[in-house]
C-alpha cells in the first residue's frame, strides 16, 4: 500500500515538473529589444539602443555583441563585443574611431553610438546578448537609414497647422472677451460716478447746474455717442428674430 502511495506521489511530482518545464520554459529566455529602423543624417551621430530582459541575474559572464550587415552585401561582420566586463570596439574596420560604448549591462542596456555617419553605414545592425546560463533567445535587428537631411515625420505639418490655428483663435477670443469685460466695467464705473455727481449737483444748486452737469464731463458725451451709434446700426440692420429693437431702450 505504501509502495503504491509512494509511486503515485512520485509520478505526480514528475508530472508537475514536466508541466512546469514545458509551460514555463518559453519565458526562461533572454529577450532583446531594439528599434525597427532609425534615421540619421550624414555627418551627425546616432545612438543604436539595445535593451534586454533576462530571467537570470546579470552575471559577470554577460556578453553583448553587435553585428553589421551592409545594405548591399550578405556578409555580417562583428563590430562590437563586450565580455567579462570589458568592451571591445572595432578599431580596424569601417567603424574605426567612430564608435562609442554607452551601455551598461547591469542596467540592461547595450547601446552604442556611431559618430560621423556615412552613406556606407546604411544597413542592418544586430544586437546579440548572452547572459549565462540564460543563453537561449532571439537577437534583435535595427535598420539604419542615412539621409542628407532627416525627412519630417508624417503628421508634423498637419499637427502643427491645426494646433497653431486653434491656439491663435483661442487667444483672439480670450483677448476679445477681456477687452469687452474691461470696457463694460469701465462703463459701469462711469455710470456710478456720473449718477453720484448728478445727485451732488442737484443737492447744491437748481436746474441750471444739473443741465451743466450733463454737459460738462466729456466721458458722458462719449457714452451718449456710443449709444446713439448703436441705435443707428440697429435701424440699418436687416431682419432677425424680432422687432424688439425699440423695446431694448
Amino acid at each position: 500500500m505504501t509502495s503504491l502511495g509512494a509511486s503515485w506521489s512520485g509520478s505526480s511530482v514528475l508530472l508537475v515538473l514536466l508541466f512546469s518545464v514545458l509551460v514555463l520554459s518559453p519565458t526562461l529566455a533572454i529577450h532583446v529589444y531594439t528599434h525597427r529602423e532609425i534615421h540619421g543624417t550624414v555627418g551627425s551621430h546616432i545612438t543604436l539602443s539595445c535593451s534586454f530582459w533576462s530571467s537570470e541575474w546579470i552575471s559577470e559572464d554577460i556578453s553583448i555583441t553587435w553585428h553589421f550587415q551592409p545594405e548591399s552585401s550578405r556578409d555580417s561582420i562583428t563590430i562590437f563585443h563586450y565580455a567579462k566586463g570589458q568592451p571591445y570596439i572595432d578599431d580596424v574596420g569601417t567603424f574605426k574611431e567612430r564608435m562609442e560604448w554607452v551601455g551598461n549591462p547591469y542596467n540592461k542596456d547595450g547601446s552604442i553610438v556611431i559618430h560621423n555617419l556615412q552613406y556606407t553605414d546604411n544597413g542592418t545592425f544586430t544586437c546579440d546578448v548572452k547572459n549565462p546560463p540564460d543563453i537561449v533567445g532571439k537577437s534583435s535587428q535595427v535598420t539604419l537609414y542615412v539621409f542628407e537631411k532627416v525627412p519630417t515625420r508624417y503628421g508634423m505639418v498637419l499637427g502643427s497647422i491645426i494646433g497653431g490655428v486653434l491656439l491663435l483663435v483661442l487667444l483672439v477670443v480670450v483677448i476679445a472677451y477681456l477687452i469687452r469685460y474691461c470696457w463694460l466695467r469701465r462703463q459701469a464705473a462711469l455710470q456710478r460716478r456720473l449718477s453720484a455727481m448728478e445727485k451732488g449737483k442737484l443737492q447744491r444748486a437748481g436746474k441750471d447746474s444739473s443741465k451743466r452737469g450733463r454737459q460738462a464731463p466729456v466721458l458722458y458725451a462719449m457714452l451718449d455717442h456710443s449709444r446713439s451709434t448703436k441705435a443707428v446700426s440697429e435701424k440699418k440692420g436687416k431682419g432677425g428674430l424680432g422687432d424688439s429693437r425699440k423695446d431694448k431702450k
Binding site: 440692420g237 432677425g240 428674430l241 423695446d247
Partner: protein
C-alpha cells in the same frame, strides 16, 4: 419664429454634413478605375477586379489641405455648440457674434483647403488626361459659400426673449 430657428439649424447641420462627407469620402480626383483623396489612393487598375488602396504621399501641401479640412470641421462643430450655448445665455437683443465668426472661419478654412488642393495637386498626383475632380472636391467648394452665408446670418441675427 420657430421656423426660422429650425431653418438656420438645418442649414448649419447641412454645412457640417457636407464638410464631413467631403473630408472622408475618397473622391477628390477620379480617373478611370483610379480614385484619390486626401488620405489614400485607391486603384483597380494594376490588379483587375481588386480594389487596392495605399496611403497618399507625405507631401507638406497635402498635409496642409488635410489640416484645413479638419480645422473647418472643428470650427463648424464648435460653432453649432456655441450657438446652442448662446441661445440660452445671450441677453435679449444680442447678436450671435461668436457663432457667426466660427462659422465664417470654417468656411474660410474649407476655401483655403480646396484652393491649395487645386493649385498643388500635381505635386503628389501625376496629371494625365483622364484625371478629373470628383464629387468630394465639388462638395468642398459648395460648403464654402453655404458656411459663409450661415455665418453672416448668425451675425445679423438677433435674439428675442
Amino acid at each position: 419664429m420657430l421656423v426660422l430657428l429650425l431653418g438656420i439649424i438645418v442649414l448649419h447641420v447641412a454645412v457640417l454634413v457636407l464638410l464631413f462627407v467631403s473630408t472622408i469620402v475618397s473622391q477628390w480626383l477620379v480617373g478611370n478605375g483610379h480614385t484619390a483623396d486626401l488620405w489614400q489612393n485607391c486603384s483597380s487598375l494594376h490588379v483587375p477586379s481588386a480594389f487596392q488602396c495605399q496611403t497618399s504621399s507625405t507631401n507638406e501641401w497635402l498635409q496642409s489641405v488635410q489640416a484645413m479640412m479638419i480645422l473647418s470641421i472643428i470650427f463648424s462643430v464648435l460653432s453649432l455648440f456655441l450657438f446652442f450655448c448662446q441661445l440660452f445665455t445671450l441677453t435679449k437683443g444680442g447678436r450671435f457674434y461668436i457663432t457667426g465668426i466660427f462659422q465664417i472661419l470654417a468656411g474660410l478654412c474649407v476655401m483655403s483647403g480646396a484652393a491649395i488642393f487645386t493649385v498643388r495637386y500635381t505635386e503628389w498626383q501625376i496629371p494625365s488626361d483622364d484625371i478629373s475632380f470628383g464629387f468630394a472636391y465639388i462638395l468642398a467648394w459648395v460648403a464654402f459659400p453655404l458656411a459663409a452665408i450661415s455665418g453672416v446670418i448668425y451675425i445679423i441675427l438677433r435674439k428675442r426673449e
